[in-house]
């Protein structure tokens, strides 16, 4: 399925989205092969979205949601974390490396962390193949 050429980042627009735009204002750009899917809230993340991302050839999926207690829809970030855990268990059962799916809490004031997470994931997952 697919050629494992991309990383999909599924990101809440209120935290990760704002952090990305701050990075972009400073001239940073997503590395090649990183597909950014912006969600209205972590709560809208569907398990199916993650599976479809792998189906469509994602080498890794990174899910970014607000810190718990800062989600404007209250439970959105917890829903997102639960969904990711469920899929991770499923991946383990079918023998896919669990580290292909990551969940992280993020705040709008964390552009530096966002950049380093995305770059590290890119190095780990995509860069070896590209070398």
């Amino acid at each position: 399925m697919g050629d494992h050429q991309k990383i999909v980042v599924m990101a809440c627009k209120h935290s990760a989205g704002e952090a990305l735009r701050e990075l972009q204002r400073e001239g940073w750009a997503l590395p090649d092969g990183v597909e950014w899917v912006e969600l209205p809230c972590g709560g809208s993340l569907d398990e199916l979205h993650i599976l479809r991302a792998f189906e469509a050839g994602a080498a890794a999926v990174l899910v970014l949601a607000c810190y718990h207690g800062a989600c404007r829809s209250l439970d959105g970030s917890r829903w997102a974390e639960k969904r990711v855990q469920a899929i991770q268990e499923m991946l383990a059962e079918i023998g896919i490396e669990q580290d292909r799916l990551e969940f992280r809490n993020i705040a709008p004031t964390m552009p530096a962390d966002l950049a380093s997470w995305v770059e590290a994931l890119h190095r780990r997952v995509l860069a070896p193949a590209g070398e």
Partner: protein, 348 residues
């Protein structure tokens, strides 16, 4: 208000953005003047202090959404622009600007000043050795470093013992700042918890005058900090010196008031919890608009903490008194309300 009155908001930090957005949503024509080339002011260097997946409610993230809302709002943004001259004009104001774009003066019925604050310069507290001792930093620098380098900015520095010194340049009538800066206890405790969560072995002590533990959220933070092993000592050092045994460390003597002991201790990092002071141009701005300053240099206001002696000139946020980001936003929304009512009465 059907006539779309014009308001000028001076300052594009959290307060200015909040006031401008509220008035624009209510149909006023708002021009926001910001001297910097970017919006956000001091709030731009505030870091996230969330730990273990939980938000610590510091309010640092309140800026981002406003930056996005303002761009899609009808508020007219003038960056790299400052006020050069103000004239009264038919009950309103004629504001001459200096800067990038506008050369013709702006006409407005009302003005909201939201010019913000300056961090207290830690150099002015000479005996604490800031700028001389490598192990002495400030809370502002710590926030900035974490914002710029990420949550792990202090992880690999080989720290064992960290001290936070509270009330640096605050609550000190001798240096003309006989007020509490409101934010330092809160940021120090939250930063301490952030460091402690990432490096559980770290020994952290907060040296305080009085911990400001009001607010629904702060009680929780304060209790959690103590449960996590953050030590809180009532007593402030007078002088911070280079440690004679280890020159990269700092040492100081303090009077632990509650324990009734005088103690000397070394630290790898000493964080000076610097407070807020009026912006360096406060006097100039006050003069331009004909308003007063209080005894510390903040803009003087009436009992509502919003209105100045000049009808139609309102103040919002930290240019009036020290405030946290969330409080500055709330204050700015009150200023917007006062301004809106003023415009409404003007229209009658």
């Amino acid at each position: 208000m059907r006539e779309h009155p014009s308001v000028i908001v001076v300052g594009g930090g959290i307060a200015g953005l909040t006031a401008a957005l509220n008035l624009a949503e209510r149909g006023a024509h708002v021009t926001l003047v910001e001297r910097d080339s970017v919006l956000g002011g001091n709030a731009r260097t505030v870091c996230c202090k969330a730990i273990a997946g939980e938000c610590q409610l510091c309010g640092g993230c309140l800026l981002g959404e406003r930056l996005e809302l303002i761009v899609s709002s009808p508020v007219e943004l003038l960056l790299e622009t400052s006020v050069a001259r103000v004239e009264r004009d038919n009950g309103g104001f004629l504001v001459y600007l200096e800067g990038a774009e506008k050369s013709s003066p702006l006409r407005a019925q009302a003005v909201i000043l939201a010019t913000g604050f300056d961090h207290v310069d830690a150099h002015t507290k000479g005996p604490y050795g800031y700028g001389i001792l490598p192990s002495v930093t400030t809370g502002e620098e710590m926030e900035r470093k974490i914002k710029e380098e990420g949550q792990g900015a202090y992880d690999a520095l080989g720290l064992h013992k960290v001290a936070f010194i509270q009330c640096v340049g605050s609550r000190d009538e001798h240096v003309g700042r006989g007020y509490c800066s409101q934010v330092c206890c809160r940021y120090a405790l939250r930063l301490a918890r952030l460091l402690k969560a990432r490096q559980p072995e770290l020994e952290i002590t907060i040296f305080k005058m009085d911990i400001q533990n009001s607010g629904r959220d702060f009680q929780k933070t304060w209790q959690a900090a103590q449960e996590e092993g953050i030590r809180i000592v009532a007593g402030l050092p007078a002088v911070i010196r280079r440690s004679s045994e280890e020159p990269r460390r700092a040492t100081f003597v303090y009077d632990d008031i509650l324990a009734g002991q005088i103690v000397q201790e070394d630290f790898d990092l000493v964080v000076l919890s610097v407070g807020m002071q009026p912006r360096r141009d406060a006097e100039q701005v006050a003069e331009l608009f004909g308003i007063n300053q209080d005894r510390y240099g903040f803009f003087a206001v009436g009992d509502d903490l919003i209105s100045t002696i000049v009808p139609g000139v309102f103040v919002a946020g930290t240019c009036q008194a020290p405030r946290s980001m969330a409080e500055a936003a709330a204050h700015a929304q009150q200023a917007a309300e006062a301004c809106y009512r003023y415009l409404q009465e003007l229209a009658l």
